[in-house]
Structure formats: structure tokens, C-alpha cells
Amino acid sequence: MGRLIVALIAGSLFGSGLFLSGMTDTTKVQGWLDVFGNWDPTLAFVMGGAIIPMAIAWQLTRVTRKPVTGGSFPAPPDAKLGRNLVLGSVLFGIGWGLAGLCPGPAIASLSYAGPGGLVFVAAMLTGMWLAPMLRARLDRVAQPE
């Protein structure tokens, strides 16, 4: 039950933040990416604002040692980069620029983006469902050492 309450609080803060920051507005995202057009710096403020409490939280994990609801904190970040990280991020970026939506805002915008939001999320879920198969196929292609 504790884990569910934490998840609800976290999701609610995330949803409120996406809404108030304007990240559910696709023109703000595309405006930030559009350095050759009418550049909108808002997204940089959102990212910077989000990183501050999150950086403090990572420092706090050293003090508290264990999450409030038990279990353990995530392992230290993996130092290995790999082809999938770059390839996947490039594919994600293409779609992000094309529609101005990433996964979090896509879910948030389901509440008021009408049929367009539904179509985007349905396609995104299909992509997420296909990804493990594509990933397995990529892994069969010899990884450069």
C-alpha cells in the first residue's frame, strides 16, 4: 500500500509539473528544438528546474540508505554506452521533434488532446511492444568490439 501511495504522489507531482510547465503543449517542445526558427527556451527552464530537486534526492539516498517503503536504491549508473543507447535516442529524438511529445507528456495530454493524443499514444504503445523484438534482432547483428 505504501508503494502505491508513493507512486500516486510521484505521478501527481509529475502530471502537475508537466501541465504547469506547458510541456503538454507541443509547440513549446518543438519551439525549443527549432533553433533555426522562433526559438523558445522554456524547456531548458523545465529541465533545469527538475534536475535541482532530483540531484538533492540522489544525495539524500547516501544518507537514508534505504527507500522509505523498503527494498534498495538503484545501482550506480552503468558506465557502458553501447550502440542501442545512441540508436534508440536518435530514433526517439526524431519522433519527439516530429510530434513534440515524449512519453510523459503524451500520457498527460491524453486527458485533453482529443483523438490526436490517442493516436499518438496507441502508436507509441505499439512501438514499445515491438521494441524487445527489434532489440533482440539488433543484438544478433555482431556488436562492434
Partner: protein
């Protein structure tokens, strides 16, 4: 314009507080694509309930806040082909890269993860090129 930046900063801090609550409370990294993807491909079966509750919060809060702050126009394109293509790219890409703007961006950069920083550089570069190509060269968005 400056008001947008202030709201961006405030909203961003709320997003970061959400990530902080998820980490300190449940010991999990708040990555939207991982939370959704784990439900779609079954890899997050054991933690399905908390994933669903998290996403319910993301979905419902904008509805609750709309009467207070007014509705926001998403300016989402009505070109269905663009939406389907973009959705597929975002879905496949974030799962192959194992993260998106929240997981690699917010949660990764804040702990100086090299993977998070490299992913962020590549999806921003690709996003910028995508806008140049599809808006300024092809004119489809």
C-alpha cells in the same frame, strides 16, 4: 514570454519533486518510458499496480488543474500519419535506448550518469534535426 519561463521552472521543480518522491519513497527511477514500457512488454509485471497508479496520477492531475489554471492547447497536429510515425519512433526509440526525457534526462543527468548525458545529447540533436527536416525543408509540420 518570461512568465512561460517562470512557469517552466516551477513546473520543472514539481517534476523533479515527483522523481525525488519516487526515488526516496520506492527506490525507483522515475522514467516515463520505462514505467509504461514495462506494462506493455510484460517486463514490469511484478510492479504493475504501482506503475498504473503512477500513470493515473500523470493523467488525472492535468484534468483536476484545468478548472484552476484554464485549459492548455496542446497544438497537437491533426496529421494522423505524422502522429503514427512519431509515436512509433518514440515508442521504439525510448525502449531501445532504455529511457527518455525523464529517465535519461532528469534522473540521469542529476546523478551525472554518462549514459543519461549521452542519450540526452543524441535525442536533442536528433529532435533538432527532425524539426529542421520536417518543418523547414519538407514543410509537413
Amino acid at each position: 514570454m518570461e512568465m512561460d519561463w517562470i512557469m517552466g521552472l516551477i513546473g520543472g521543480m514539481l517534476i523533479g519533486l515527483g522523481g525525488a518522491a519516487y526515488l526516496i519513497g520506492n527506490g525507483r527511477i522515475m522514467g516515463a518510458s520505462g514505467i509504461i514500457g514495462g506494462l506493455v512488454d510484460g517486463s514490469g509485471h511484478a510492479t504493475a499496480a504501482e506503475r498504473i497508479v503512477f500513470l493515473a496520477g500523470v493523467l488525472v492531475l492535468p484534468i483536476l488543474l484545468t478548472p484552476l489554471f484554464g485549459g492548455v492547447d496542446t497544438h497537437i497536429t491533426d496529421n494522423m500519419l505524422v502522429l503514427v510515425a512519431a509515436g512509433l519512433f518514440v515508442g521504439v526509440g525510448t525502449r531501445i535506448a532504455n529511457g527518455c526525457t525523464s529517465g535519461h534526462g532528469v534522473c540521469g543527468i542529476s546523478r551525472l550518469s554518462l549514459r543519461g548525458m549521452v542519450a540526452t545529447v543524441f535525442y536533442i540533436l536528433a529532435g533538432g534535426l527532425s524539426v529542421v527536416l520536417f518543418r523547414h525543408i519538407l514543410g509537413v509540420i
